[in-house]
């Protein structure tokens, strides 16, 4: 049974359609990744689903409750961890947890017990009674996540959980997210613009671009659906010649998409290894020097590119 169902969510801000009809579901027990470039509508979607913003049209059921008619029940059933660390810096970790426990209607004793439990789970016991200002970035984030869990929510919303963290802390946060999902059985909805994060953590992803879902499914299934391999050639290319090269390569049999960057060409094609010689000849024939070739399975970036015609890096700009 889905723990979240969104129907045709639309949000218009000052005439701009930030969300243009989102319909999707999150299943009980999964990690669901909401992937897209900055500005694609991820934050708007998460604000609507956590009852912080009202949709212009459409609605959603979260944990069985309608977000518009029963916002309070929705709030009681979910945990929400915003992108920025939003805790009191001049309270201790424990005080922050107990405060939120109380606001989520736990008794004083329950709130204190749960705080101790979560501090242990997040390996913050030693820092529990220190002010949050003294925490490192990774510790703050772990406390932030713990705060979203005080009331044992059915669904935890994590908005860009590793943005701004150093690579080591990022990997640690990933480990905690996996453990929460596996050991505590919490369904997790996370937004991210890091392809690797979605790929590593999510059982299923929805790829969002310009307020619309362009693809939804398990990362592997989405990659398979691209229908081939990715051949990347390192070249020396003049921007002016790019269009010609793109057309020349796209005309080859089996080629499904071509993207010419400043120093490389990415081609989605069936049977990648066998396609390399023909691609190579075409590129050289068009006057480009090919310096290296790699063949790989598609990544989520290729999935994004396949569906939108742009890479994530281009869409971020």
């Amino acid at each position: 049974m889905p723990v979240l169902e969104a129907y045709n969510l639309v949000k218009v801000y000052n005439g701009v359609r930030a969300l243009d009809g989102l319909t999707f579901e999150v299943r009980e027990g999964e990690v669901f990744g909401f992937l897209g470039p900055n500005g694609a509508g991820k934050s708007t979607a998460i604000r609507i689903l956590t009852t912080l913003t009202r949709p212009t049209a459409g609605t959603a059921r979260v944990a069985g409750w309608d977000i518009l008619r029963r916002p309070r029940q929705v709030r009681q059933s979910i945990g929400y961890v915003p992108q920025e660390v939003s805790l009191d810096h001049y309270s201790t970790g424990r005080e922050n947890l107990v405060l939120f426990g109380r606001l989520y209607r736990l008794s004083g004793r329950e709130a204190r017990r749960r705080a101790a439990e979560l501090l242990a789970l997040m390996e913050l016991e030693e820092a529990a009674d220190r002010l949050v200002v003294t925490y490192s970035g990774g510790m703050k984030k772990r406390l932030d996540i713990a705060t979203g869990l005080v009331h044992r929510p059915r669904l935890l919303f994590l908005d860009e959980p590793t943005t701004g963290l150093d690579p080591y802390s990022r990997v640690r946060v990933w480990d905690y997210i996996r453990r929460l999902n596996r050991e505590e059985g919490i369904t997790i909805f996370l937004t991210t613009h890091y392809l690797e994060e979605a790929d590593r953590l999510a059982h299923r992803v929805a790829i969002l671009d310009r307020g619309r879902i362009v693809a939804e499914g398990a990362p592997d299934a989405l990659k398979d659906a691209v229908g081939g391999d990715v051949v990347q050639m390192e070249i020396d290319a003049e921007p002016a010649a790019a269009a010609g090269l793109e057309a020349a390569l796209a005309a080859l049999r089996g080629v499904r998409r071509v993207h010419v960057g400043e120093r490389h060409v990415r081609v989605v094609t069936v049977r990648g290894p066998e396609a390399v010689p023909a691609l190579f000849r075409r590129a050289e024939g068009a006057g480009f020097t090919v310096r290296a070739v790699t063949v790989a399975r598609p990544s989520l970036d290729d999935v994004f590119f396949y569906h939108t015609g742009r890479t994530m890096a281009e869409a971020q700009r």
Partner: protein, 256 residues
């Protein structure tokens, strides 16, 4: 109503905890009114020698004014803390909990009101030592603290409403500055009404600052004059309720 009381207490505890952890905040809040009492008492001391001045010493006249000014300045800025919460995302995080919306405001403004009430009790103590005792004694002092706390709670709610509507520090600070001094000057906080020009005398009685000044001065100088006290406290209570309502409405605009 479920949870309103308990949520309010939690938010109040949080506000108090954060305030008490700033020693500069505690110290300056306690010392400032005493400094005012001393400085203004010296500066305007000769006013009391003018014919028609209602009290023997200026300090006696001005002490209720200091109480009210402390309540005003102690609460008018309180919305700034909310702006920090808005910018940090803490407010959104609180709004995403089932906590009662009104509690998110009440907890904060009651913290301000209580702080102001405690400050005012200290002022009364110091004023008493300096030769301006409270006519109604200890029960009257609690009455003064109540009036000051009520006034502070209302203004704090207004400050919070403005903070949500202009969610940046600079415009809010400018707005508070712009409003605070005129409402003090167009009141009997520093000067009796009969010393004011006629047009000001006409305006003064509609100024909420004056309702608070009048109630406090009544308790400090005249005693339990119930008709005056009842009218002022009722007006202040209505204003406080109105400003809290405005703050709730402002909060609700955030979740549009």
């Amino acid at each position: 109503m479920r949870g309103l009381f308990s949520d309010t207490v939690q938010i109040w505890l949080r506000a108090s905890r954060l305030a008490l952890r700033q020693p500069v905040w505690v110290l300056s809040n306690l010392l400032e009114p005493v400094v005012w009492l001393f400085l203004f008492g010296q500066m305007y001391g000769s006013l009391a020698r003018l014919p028609g001045f209602p009290t023997a010493s200026y300090l006696e006249y001005f002490a209720p004014g200091v109480v009210t000014m402390t309540a005003l300045f102690g609460s008018a800025w309180s919305g700034l803390g909310l702006i920090t919460d808005i910018q940090r995302g803490t407010l959104d995080r609180l709004l995403a909990t089932p906590a009662h919306r009104l509690a998110l405001i009440l907890g904060r403004v009651l913290h301000t009101g209580l702080t102001v009430a405690v400050q005012c009790l200290i002022i009364l103590l110091v004023a008493g030592l300096m030769g301006a005792p409270t006519a109604t004694g200890a029960p009257g002092a609690l009455g003064v603290a109540f009036v000051a706390g009520l006034f502070g709670t209302g203004l704090s709610a207004l400050s919070h409403a403005l903070a949500v509507l202009v969610p940046r520090e600079d415009p809010l600070a400018a707005l508070v500055n712009f409003l605070s001094l005129p409402v003090i000057f167009v009141s009997t906080a520093m000067v009796p009404a009969n010393f004011l020009p006629p047009w000001m005398q006409a305006v003064v009685r509609y100024n909420p600052v004056d309702w608070a000044v009048e109630a406090v001065r009544t308790l400090m100088l005249d005693g339990w004059v119930w008709n005056v006290l009842a009218r002022d406290v009722l007006l202040l209570a209505l204003l406080t309720a109105l400003f809290n309502l405005a703050a709730v409405c402002a909060f609700n605009t955030r979740t549009r």
